[in-house]
Structure formats: C-alpha cells, structure tokens
C-alpha cells in the first residue's frame, strides 16, 4: 500500500458471488456506525394486482424471523438503543439504523437475519394491517398528502408505480396477507438486488468481512426485474380539486414529469430546480410567493433522481383565498424561467452552492450511507463524490435554460386540496 490516499469518500467495495454488494467507509467522528441495507424491492416490483405490498412488507419484515421471535428482535434493538427504520420508495426497500460501534456485529447479524429469514407471524400481520389502515385514514384527512397523491396519480396514471400511493389503498391492504408477503419476499428480496453500506467507526476491511460472512451463503438469485413505462405525454393543463372543508389551509401540488437520472440533461434540471424552488428560502418561488406576497409559510420545488422521468413537484400551503393568486405566481415564475433562463449570477451562485454543499451533506455517517446507496443504485461510481463538482461545473447556462424551456404552465398538472371548492371559492365568507 503506497501513495497518497484516494481523494473523497473512496469507499471499499466488495461484490459477493451471489451478487450482493457491500460498501464500507471508516469515519471517526462518533463511536457509532450507520448500517444501511437497501434492496430492490420497492413499489415498482409489486405485482400489479397487489398495490401496497412493498410498504406492507416494510411494516412486517422485522416482526419475527426463523431464528428470532418479534420479542427477541425488539429486545435486541431496544437494548442497544437502536430504532431500526424500514422504509420503502419507488424502487427500493431500506433497513437503516445507527448503533454504537460495540454493537455493530450483533446488529448486522440481526438485520441480515431479518432480510433473509422473515416469517411474517399471522398476529403481527393483522396488527400491522390495522396500523396501515389507521395511517391511510389519517392520510385521507391530510390536505398535503391528498394534493400530492392526486397530482402524481394524474401525472403518471393511478396504476403506474410512480403514480399510485405507495401504501396502497384501504381495500388493497385488506386483501394482502402472510402468503402474499412471503411470496413477495422470495421474489424481490434477493442477494442480487442487495447493497449493504456500513459507515462509521469501523475499519473498512473489517466491515466488509463482517458483512460478507453473514451474506455469502445466501443462495444466488438475481435482482427482481420491473417493467416501467415512461409517463404518458401531457397535452394540456389539468387541475384536480379535492375540497376538504373541515381544514384551515389549502395545499397545492403542481408539477411535470421531467427526466430520468440517466438523462444527459439531469444535472441541468438539478440546477434549474434549485434556481426555481430551492436556493435560499425556496428559490424564485419563495422570493415571489413568500417574501414579496406573504402568501405561504412553505413554498418550494422538489426534484429527485428516478429511473424514468422524475416529477418536478412544486408545493405550497396557502389560505384558500390565495389559491388562484398562488397558482398565477407559480405559472409566472415557471414561464419566466422557461423564457429567459437563469441570470448569469443566479446560475453561477446556484452551481457554486451545490458544489460547496458537499462537505455539509456528507458530514454524518447516515448521510454518507444514503449518498453511497444512491450512487450505487444509479451506477454513478465509487468516485461520484469527487466527480460530481466537475460534472456540475461542466453544465452551461444554456443547458439550464433548455431544461427550463421544457416546463410549460399550459401543460402543468395541478392538484389543490383543502377548504377550497375551485374557481377561487374558499370555505366561509370573504
């Protein structure tokens, strides 16, 4: 071993014969380790007839294995002061936690057991089903959830994995049972689709060895495959209003389908979205709707990497009397950005901000683990943290303008949920 250490995170990486990938990065800030096990078992892998299955699996997978009862799992986690988070998104299911370094071997053993050998006890499945139903009932009374779900369902179609609610609907969840969970586990939870990342106060080679010993006898199976259609073209503006007259304030979700992570224009869209709805307190949208017009406490736009065209989603919460004025302001800001692009100063400031944010975004073990998982999922390479600044520097203002020019308010999909009945009508009087 000679020469200077590699710049950046430079994680150690090992791929086992069964396809499982392990990444490790040592840090010494705290005597703790972040464990992040991600597997390609997200919403896109659900059978079309069983929406909500991946989310249901995330709620039940850690409630008993062939080797540990639910109580034993609870005791081991609680005894170490660890809460194991299990989350699911469009493409992946993730088990993540932070533990003290002294507990890492025990917890890694437990997490791999949970992933490989869950048994889904009937009683646990029944209880977790009721929790999901309760959560879906809460969502029905939540204008923010209702607006976003309506917008995505319209944009992608309500059967598309990007368009349907990830938890499923109450009727769907009622039909899901232990057999369905076991079958989905066998189908989607395979070593070929698994990436385990360990970041913390643990020597990287030792971390790889620990993980490999737990995973290498898992019989080989490739990652599950999913067919994913691009979103349908949007020919005209569409507005969906969900009146919720028992609420105080109205939520707006407004957006477009944009580009996939693999699209060469991805970085230009990233910068453009930051100008539009992120930089400072919500970008240009924040300047207009919050700062100048005082209409919203939160207004921003969000854009994240995805396998097919990702949504660019504008969100705001406003008084019902201001819904139409807010929509007009969103339209105006998008139209102006599409027409003129970003100013030289805006463009350069934003790009500098994104590049210079890297050390802050990669400060904690958990955030480094998330970053490595995303890089691994999209095949960005082990040196992506080092290359990313150069890739952003290579983006031109013209490319950002071209990205903005693809947004047309006349073809926006808009959802409004709250005490608002449409056409400027709010709850109560003036």
């Amino acid at each position: 071993m000679t020469g200077a250490p590699a710049p950046g995170l430079a994680p150690a990486r090992r791929v086992l014969a069964n396809g499982a990938a392990i990444l490790a990065r040592q840090t010494t800030a705290t005597p703790a380790v972040a464990i992040n096990l991600t597997i390609r078992a997200g919403v896109v892998y659900e059978p079309e007839t069983q929406p909500g299955l991946a989310h249901f699996l995330s709620r039940t997978i850690d409630r008993g294995t062939e080797r540990r009862t639910a109580d034993e799992l609870a005791e081991a986690l609680d005894g170490a002061g660890v809460s194991l988070g299990v989350s699911v998104n469009r493409h992946t299911l993730t088990l993540a936690c932070t533990c003290l370094t002294e507990d890492v071997a025990r917890l890694l053993d437990l997490i791999v057991d949970v992933v490989r050998r869950p048994v889904f006890p009937e009683a646990e499945v029944a209880r977790r089903r009721q929790e999901i139903v309760t959560s879906l009932r809460q969502d029905q009374d939540n204008p923010a959830v209702r607006a976003v779900e309506a917008m995505l369902a319209s944009l992608y179609g309500d059967a598309h994995p990007y368009g349907r609610p990830s938890k499923g609907r109450i009727d769907d969840v009622a039909r899901l049972d232990r057999q369905a969970l076991s079958a989905f586990h066998r189908h989607a939870m395979t070593p070929g689709g698994l990436t385990l990342v360990l970041v913390g106060d643990l020597e990287a080679e030792r971390a790889l060895d620990l993980a490999a010993a737990l995973l290498e006898d898992w019989p080989s199976a490739p990652a599950a495959e999913a067919r994913l259609a691009p979103p349908p073209p949007v020919a005209e503006r569409c507005t969906i209003v969900t009146p919720m007259m028992n609420k105080s304030q109205t939520d707006i979700a407004y957006g477009f389908a944009t580009v996939a992570r693999a699209d060469p224009a991805y970085n230009a869209f990233w910068i453009m979205n930051t100008v539009l709805g992120q930089y400072g307190l919500g970008g240009r949208l924040g300047d207009n709707i919050r700062e100048r017009q005082g209409m919203a406490y939160y207004v921003y736009s969000a854009f994240d990497p995805a396998v097919v065209a990702a949504p660019l989603l504008v969100r705001a919460g406003v008084d019902s009397a201001n819904v139409d004025r807010t929509l007009a302001a969103i339209d105006a800001e998008i139209a102006a950005l599409a027409r003129d692009g970003a100013t030289v100063e805006e463009f350069e400031d934003t790009r500098r901000f994104l590049v210079a944010s890297m050390p802050r975004l990669l400060e904690t073990n958990a955030s480094i683990a998330d970053f490595l998982q995303t890089s691994e999922f999209f095949g960005l390479g082990l040196d992506y943290d080092v290359r990313m600044p150069d890739e952003l520097q290579a983006v031109t203002r013209e490319e950002v303008h071209a990205a903005a020019a693809r947004l047309d308010p006349a073809r926006a999909t808009v959802a409004v949920a709250g005490p608002y009945a449409g056409n400027g009508r709010g709850a109560g009087g003036a």
Binding site: A32, V82, R127, V133, T242, G280, G294, Y297, G422
Partner: protein, 465 residues
C-alpha cells in the same frame, strides 16, 4: 462519551479588559468548550471539531414565548421572522446567497425559552457568519411593509399547523394543563394577537431582548478557538448591552384535580393525549423523569433540534406493549422537553381506526398506574439508561447538532448541565424513577385530552377540470 477530535482549550494571553475568561476547563470526560464573556456581556462558546471542513455558528437569545404577555403572544416568533429581512449593512435583496455561496444552510427557531439562529457552512465562511449574527443582534430594519408581508406568512404557518388534528389537540391540552404560567400559550401566538400586533411593538420586543448580555454565540467546527474569540470581539464588541429584560414570575400552581379537554371535530382519526406537570431541566427529578419516559415510551435523548428525525427505540417500552402490541393504538410517543421552568410531560397516542378512545385511555392509565404501584425492574432501568446513553452519542453527530446542544443548554440551564448529562444519567436510581412516577404521574395531577373525530360532511371526491 467519546469525543469528536478533542482539542484542549488554549488559555493563552488575551487583551486585558476585553475578555473575561470564566471557564476553560470542563467537567471530567467532556470535550473542551472554550467559554469567554466579552465586556458587553456576550457569552462566546467555542468547540473545535475537526472532522469536516465546516463551521456551525449559532446565536442564542434568552427570549421565547414565555416572555410574552397578553396581547403580545407570538411576538418572539414574529421577531425571529423579521430578523431575516435585512439589516443596516445587509440589504434586503442580499440576504439570499450570503452563506449559500459557501455551501451553507441557515435557519432559526423560537420556542418556550429561547430564540436561535444558525448558519452551517464551509469554515471559510466563519467571518461572514459572525457578521450576519452581529447585524441580526444590532441592526435589523423592521420596514413596515415587510412586517405586513411577514404577518400573513406567519398566519399561514399557524393555519398549516391547524390542519393537523394532533397539533390542535396539543394546543388545547397545553392551555388546559397550565392555567397560569405563560408556557400555556403556543409559541406561534394566538391568531388575534398576530393580526393586531404592530410594527413598533415588534421592534420594541426586538430591542428589549436582543442585546449581547442576553445572548450566547456558539461556534463549533474546524476553527481555532482563539481566532473565533478575536473575531467575535471584532464583530460584537461594540454592541451595547441592554437593560435586564423583564421575566415572568408566575409559578404554575399545582393542579387540584384531573382536567379534561374534549375536541369533537370533523376528522378521520382519534387522538388521545395525557399530560402532567414536568420538572424543569435543572430539577433533580429531570433525569429520573427522562428515564421514566424511556421506560414508558422509549428514549428520545435531549436534542430537540434533531431527535424527532429518528424515532425512539420503543418496542419493549411499557406503553408500546400495552397499546400498540395489543392493537389499541397505532402510535404512542412521550415528550419531556428540557425547559427553564416546569413545563409538561406529555404522552401522545394515535388510536387505531375503529377503537373506542375510552378503552385506549383505560389501558394507558392502567399501565401507568401499574408502574406507579409495582415499580420498575432493574432490567428496565438498565435498558433505559443504555438507550439514553446511545442517544446522547447519536444526537451529537454533526457540528450543527453539537453547537445546538451547547447553546440550548447554556440558554435554558447551564453549560454544566449539558456537560454532565451522561455522568448524571448513570447515577439515576430505581428509587428516584419510582418516586417520580408515584409523585408526578398521580391521577389528580393529570390532564386528559381527546380528539374525537366526527364524520366529515361532504368531503367530495376530486373534481377534475
């Protein structure tokens, strides 16, 4: 607790008269925090942490919603919003981008006892961050038109919170459980006060509390402590102190019996809350209560800035087993906030769809009464202490979090309270926890809140146009 890049404090010579170095050393085992008080009363707290090329700067003020009287509720939070709107030397249109150019993030919050502002950015931005905070302390503008635009932003913040039935119940419960102390009104304020409060009242509130002698500047990161102290003197040294601000003197009287609040409103889900008067952070009962909360609902730690982002380990906790494992509730959580005066210990429960609230309340109170009658086991105590010790590590994982914790505890208690947390936790006994449970969670001292949903009238399906 093992520390991040422990650097001993450097007690080198300082310019006579400018600084008053009160404490350089620390309690045993805790990382060194450099503490200097400038001549104008500003406390400067610095910890060198060299794990990333970053610095986090926080400026804390001893003013929060408890410092507001009738008619002025929400003033502290309104002032916080106004203090992001430019100053004499930072034009309004140049606020945006000041720290972003250094990859930075910034924000602030107001709560019961405190108002705070922070920037975390590249260490190269240190001077700029100190400049921003000095401007904020001395030179904010309060243009009338900015006050009006911000008034509606804050009302939108309040209205957004009201969309959540759990928050609605929280506000009602707090105002019921406390009848005299100003902790009883929400930090955001009552709507009528927000609508009425004038520019001059806001500016007066700002001038009354925003002086160096009522503030603490905290810097944590890849910095040199001596250098930070010098720069702090340069940026803040000329700001004159303020007269000692008025402080609330009302002590909440002990409750004379159980109090109940019932919200019957349109909704889909039932919520139940139980609250008791809690010890202040410096009360000897505080850590035993923190352990008791861990036993009842799982350990949260004491970082109110970040702890809510990671749910507590709680599956073996008493109330999770009594309520969630039995299908009565889909969620149970406990909240014990470190506060300067006695506030509330609150248990929040989301009732499983279709379950009668009365049954859930019965089972929750039965579990609590059983603990009060039979005590806790040695295993429970050990598990709770271990959970809390782990949370104390996890919640100090970034320069932003460490700086928050230093400033928070300095503001609501003392630095020593923070530095000795882990050591004092290990000394908490079974008897102390049981005594806290028996005394503080007595039936006649509780407030019970229900959100009982009534069917939503005419919740139409989406209409498409």
């Amino acid at each position: 607790m093992r520390a991040v890049a422990r650097t001993p404090s450097r007690a080198g010579p300082r310019k006579a008269g400018l600084y008053n170095d009160r404490m350089s050393a620390t309690s045993a085992g805790a990382p060194a925090i450099r503490r200097v008080v400038l001549d104008n009363g500003l406390t400067v707290l610095v910890r060198e942490v060299r794990t990333a090329p970053l610095a986090s700067v926080w400026c804390w003020y001893r003013v929060g919603s408890k410092d507001e009287g009738p008619g002025l509720t929400g003033a502290s939070h309104f002032v916080e919003h106004m203090n992001f709107k430019g100053s004499t030397n930072i034009p309004r249109d140049q606020v945006k981008g000041l720290v972003e150019k250094f990859g930075g993030t910034w924000n602030g919050y107001t709560w019961l006892d405190q108002t705070t502002y922070f920037e975390t950015a590249s260490r190269d931005a240190l001077d700029r961050m100190l400049f921003i905070e000095a401007e904020r302390m001395a030179n904010c503008l309060y243009e009338p038109e900015d006050c009006e635009a911000e008034r509606t932003v804050i009302i939108s913040e309040l209205r957004g919170g009201e969309n959540d039935p759990d928050q609605l119940l929280e506000i009602e419960l707090t105002a019921t459980a406390l009848k005299a102390h100003p902790y009883r009104h929400p930090t955001i304020g009552w709507l009528s006060d927000l609508q009425a409060i004038g520019r001059d009242e806001l500016y007066g509130h700002y001038r009354r509390y925003y002086g160096p002698n009522n503030a603490a500047l905290v810097v944590v990161g890849d910095v040199d402590a001596d250098d930070v102290v010098r720069r702090a003197g340069r940026h803040f040294g000329a700001i004159p102190p303020v007269a000692d601000p008025p402080r609330p003197r009302t002590v909440e009287p002990p409750p004379l019996g159980e109090r109940r609040v019932l919200l019957e409103r349109e909704g889909t889900t039932a919520y139940l809350k139980l609250a008791w008067h809690a010890p202040a952070v410096d009360d000897p009962d505080f850590l035993p209560m923190l352990v008791l909360d861990a036993i009842l609902t799982g350990a949260k730690g004491v970082n109110v800035w970040s702890s809510f982002r990671t749910p507590p380990p709680q599956r073996r906790s008493r109330l999770y087993r009594a309520l969630v494992d039995t299908g009565r509730a889909s969620m149970v959580g406990g909240s014990l906030i470190p506060t300067q005066h006695p506030f509330l210990y609150t248990i929040s429960i989301t009732v499983t769809d279709g379950m009668p609230i009365a049954d859930v309340e019965h089972d929750a109170l039965e579990a609590i009464d059983r603990l009060r009658a039979d005590g806790i086991s040695a295993d429970e105590l050990e598990r709770a202490r271990r959970q809390l010790a782990a949370r104390f590590v996890f919640e100090n994982d970034s320069v932003t979090n460490i700086a928050h914790q230093i400033g928070f505890f300095h503001t609501v208690a003392t630095l020593d309270t923070y530095q000795t947390l882990a050591a004092r936790l290990s000394g908490v006994t079974k008897d102390q926890v049981e005594a806290a449970a028996r005394g503080r969670l007595a039936p006649g001292r509780r407030t019970v809140g229900w959100f009982k949903p009534v069917p939503i009238d005419g919740a139409a399906a989406g209409a498409r146009s």
